[in-house]
Structure formats: C-alpha cells, structure tokens
C-alpha cells in the first residue's frame, strides 16, 4: 500500500477538549471530601451524626417514588382517556399540583390535607355509627391526627406532588407510540385496556425510562424538603447538628457531599440505562 493514499484519521479520543474534566473534578471533590471525613475529627464527627438520617432520606425517596409511579401512571392514563370524567380529573390534578411550589404543597398536604382527611374519616365513622354499622364506625372514629406520623405525611405529600410530574411523563410516553399500534391491537380483537397493557405501555414505559430515572434523582434531592416537617432526614439532621455545635461548615459540607454521592451515582446509572436502551432498538 502506498502511504500517501492512506487517509489521516484523527483520533478524537486523544483531544484534550474531549476529556470530561468536570467528571475528574467531581471525583477529586469526592476524594478530598472523604479524605477529610476520615482525617479531621470535626468532620468525621459531623459525618457520623448526619449519616443517621440516611435511612429516612432513602426510605422516603423510595416509598414516595413507588406511590408516585402508581399515581402518575393512573393520572397519565386519565390524561389521554376519552372518558370526560377521568380526563378532566387527571388534568385538574396535574394543573393544581404543578401550579403550587413544592415547599408550600408539602406544608399544605401535611398540615391541612391530612387533618381534613382525618375529619372526613371521622365524619364517615360517625355516620356509620348512626346507621348502626359500628363495625365500620369504630375504627374510622378512632383515627386521629396522630395516626399519621410526620414521616408518613411527608411521603404522602411527595407522592402526590411527584405523581403529577410523572403523569406528564407517562402521557408523553404513551402519545409517542404511533396510532397504528393501537389500531393493530384493536383490529386483532383486543380491548382498549388489553391493548394498553400488552402493546402500548411496554413500549411507552421503555421510551420514558430515562426520564423516570431522572425524576427519581430529582425526588432524592427534593426529599430534603421534608425537613420542614421536622422529619429527620439528612437535611434535618444536619440542621440539628449545625444548630447545636455551630459547625455550619462541617454540617453543610457533609450533607452536600452525601446528596452529591447519591445523585451522581444514580445519574450514572440512568445514563448507562439510556445507552443500553439505545443500543437495543
């Protein structure tokens, strides 16, 4: 072969502009942070105190997300439903939730919504008692506001809030599937529900998996808002630590690094999943 005719292929991998410097910097931050957690007594003290909240943060995020998924799927199906009642109910839910700041919603649901629910249950219980159905009346009357812990209310509030966001993701996913898929399924005799379940949703969910993953990452961060209900997640615990020791720097460096670790790892997993999905199609 004649060398002159060999095309020069630039090896793009070797260009300095392509190196993910931000990622290296991130790793450096992690290394530095964990180094000081290990070596400095103030920081390791803060770390050991704040890590107690990790369980609540993880638990709240996971449970609330699971409920939000169910709620979001239901509301998403409602948004595309031809049934006027479900369609409008779902639309109202989404618009109401998206129009109020999440922090306010958490206060509202936990401190206004839940007491209203308790009142409602008690009222229902009283009604059951008057018509002589004590079996149903007594347990409903027994409900007090104390039956709902702040942890539970926080999860409730996050689920309802994120359900509205996920509803829009599911709706977009379902609408991204061509009309022909539904028509082919219906032409084979499937009902609307069967076509949804076996044909449309498997494709739609697959298309929105990365978006769902990103929203889980967002949920982990937004779970910090439940600290306003005095739920002892890592944010609340770090506030307590800072308040009692006046080591603000140690407290907030530690809690930031904890969130970062979780979100960076989760984001990487989402990216990995996205790449996998793209390869399969």
């Amino acid at each position: 072969m004649d060398d002159r005719h060999t095309p020069v292929i630039k090896d793009n991998n070797k260009q300095t502009s392509d190196v993910p410097w931000w990622f290296l910097a991130l790793i450096l931050i992690f290394v530095w942070a964990f180094y000081i957690f290990y070596t400095r007594e103030n920081y390791s003290d803060a770390f050991n105190f704040i890590k107690i909240g990790l369980r609540v943060t993880i638990q709240t995020s996971l449970i609330a997300y699971a409920f939000a998924l169910m709620l979001g799927l239901l509301a998403g199906l409602g948004r595309i439903s031809k049934n006027i009642f479900f369609n409008n109910l779902a639309r109202l839910y989404v618009e109401l939730i998206r129009g109020v700041p999440m922090l306010v919603l958490i206060f509202f649901i936990a401190l206004v919504g839940v007491p209203l629910l308790v009142d409602g249950l008690n009222g229902l219980g009283a009604w059951f008692t008057t018509i002589g159905l004590d079996v149903l009346g007594e347990p409903l009357n027994a409900f007090g506001n104390k039956a709902f812990t702040m942890n539970g209310r926080a999860i409730f509030a996050l689920s309802i809030t994120y359900g509205a966001f996920l509803a829009e993701i599911f709706r977009a996913g379902i609408q991204s599937i061509g009309r022909g898929q539904m028509e082919a399924a219906r032409s084979l005799g499937m009902s609307y529900g069967q076509a949804m379940r076996h044909i449309i949703l498997p494709q739609a969910v697959r298309n929105v998996l990365p978006a769902l993953g990103n929203d889980f990452v967002a949920m982990v961060k937004d779970s910090s808002l439940v600290s306003v209900l005095a739920v002892r997640d890592i944010t609340q615990v770090s506030r307590l630590y800072a308040g009692s020791t006046f080591r603000f720097r140690e407290a907030y460096v530690t809690v930031s690094v904890m969130y970062l670790t979780m979100t960076v790892v989760l984001s990487l997993l989402v990216q990995l999943m996205e790449r996998r999905l793209r390869k399969d199609v």
Partner: protein, 248 residues
C-alpha cells in the same frame, strides 16, 4: 333481508371528519369466499370504507353487518367481531417490542385465551405458510418490509378470521418485495378466504379478484368484474383513472 351467504353488508354508509366528507352513502354486499378489490384515487374514501368495516372508524351513519350481526356501540361485541376480521395495514404496524413469533401469539393468548403452547404452534404454522418460519425469533426492526408484511398477515390469520381486510398492503414496499406479499395473498384467495383489498396492484386484481369496486369522492362509482373493468369500463371517471394508472 340479507341471505346468510352475505358475510359483509354495508348499508348507506356515511363518514364525515369535521369538514372532510370521506364517505357519502356507500352500500356494498360481499359474499362469503369472494375477493373484492377496491381501487380509486387517493382521498376517494376506499381506506375509510375498509376501516369502517371493523369499526376502526366509527361511521357517521349507516349500517355494517358482519355475518348476520350488526356492529353497534357495545364494546364487548365489537371486540369479538373484530377478532373475526383480520386486518393488514399499509405500514405493517407490527409490535416492535415483540419478536415475530410473539407478534403472532399475543392476541391469540389475550383474546382467544389459547395456551402458550397452542398459540406458538399455530404461529409457527402461519409463519411457515407465509414462508419465513426461520424468522420466528427476530424482532420486526431486523426484518425487511416484505417479511414484516408477511408476519403481519400471519398475525391476522392466526386468529382464524372469517374476513381479511387489506389496506394498501404493498404500497410501502420496495418493488422487489411486492411479489412475495402478493403471492401470499393469492394463495389466501385460492383457499377461499373472503378478502377486501384496497390495492392498486392491477396484476393481483386481474388474477385474484372476483369483483372490483371503483370509488371516487366517497361513492362507489363502478362495481364490476376484473374483465369488465379492463375491457369495458362504463363510467368516464373510471376510464380516466384507468388511463392514468395504466399508462406506463
């Protein structure tokens, strides 16, 4: 009253989409075992009529009778009737998340409540019939257009339909793949399947059709035999259309 031999009866069918008047009073009777080819310019309402037969489009007015039963609003009955009517689409509409085999078994399992094994056996029979049993485990994305359309036909046939509807089944295919699909359709016609095909494949019409319908502006302009159409078209609009598509 309709004789029992009339498997599709369409009476005075109208379909209007807002401003567009797709069908303006179509009446048609198809006898069991007959192959009817529907031709006409685009926008003449041929696809809409086909899609009204299994109520993928709900007619604005008019009646559709399938094998002596009128299609109505009852969803359950409608689903049951649709299972008896196979449909093949221009763009195949295979389910991309399922293999060729799963495409053919899913409705059998969900709608016909057949066991996994039975559905699979029937699916393999149908895949052999359309000539691609070796593609059973391949996803639609890795099949050629002709192969996809043959899987789609196998999918429809696996439900043991009484009627097969074809909506321009070869229009989206590369020329070299048209024959493999038409061959399958020809075999089906020979076996006595009742077929309604919207198609401009004149060769297929000539060799397989019992009747030909020419539609224009939402109406049946001419209802004749292939011989009548090619040798003695009655209406001026039919003549014009034929001269346009047969020129080359």
């Amino acid at each position: 009253m309709s004789k029992t031999n009339d498997i599709i009866v369409i009476k005075d069918l109208y379909k209007h989409f807002d401003e567009v008047k797709a069908l303006n009073g179509v009446s048609l009777t198809v006898e069991r075992g007959k192959v009817v080819v529907v031709i006409g310019p685009s926008g003449s309402g041929k696809s809409t009529m086909l899609r009204c037969i299994n109520h993928l489009e709900v007619p604005t007015s008019g009646e559709i009778w399938i094998d002596g039963k009128q299609l109505g609003k009852n969803e359950k009955e409608l689903n049951a009737t649709r299972a008896e009517i196979g449909m093949v689409f221009q763009l195949f509409n295979l389910f991309p998340h399922l293999t060729a085999l799963e495409n053919i078994t899913i409705a059998q399992k969900v709608v016909r409540h057949r066991s996994k094994e039975e559905a699979k056996e029937i699916a393999m029979q149908q895949l052999k019939r359309v000539g691609i049993p070796e593609k059973a485990d391949v996803y639609p994305g890795n099949l050629s257009g002709g192969q996809q359309q043959r899987v789609a036909i196998a999918r429809a046939l696996s439900m043991n339909p009484k009627i097969m509807l074809f909506d321009e089944p070869t229009s989206a295919l590369d020329p070299e793949m048209i024959k493999e699909v038409l061959d399958v359709m020809l075999d089906l016609a020979k076996e006595g399947m009742t077929m309604v095909c919207v198609s401009h494949e004149m060769g297929f019409a000539r060799s397989a059709a019992d009747e030909i319908i020419f539609m224009d502006e939402g109406l049946i302009v001419e209802h004749t035999t292939p011989f009548g159409l090619f040798n003695d078209p009655q209406e001026d609009r039919t003549k014009l259309f034929l001269s346009q598509i047969l020129q080359h």
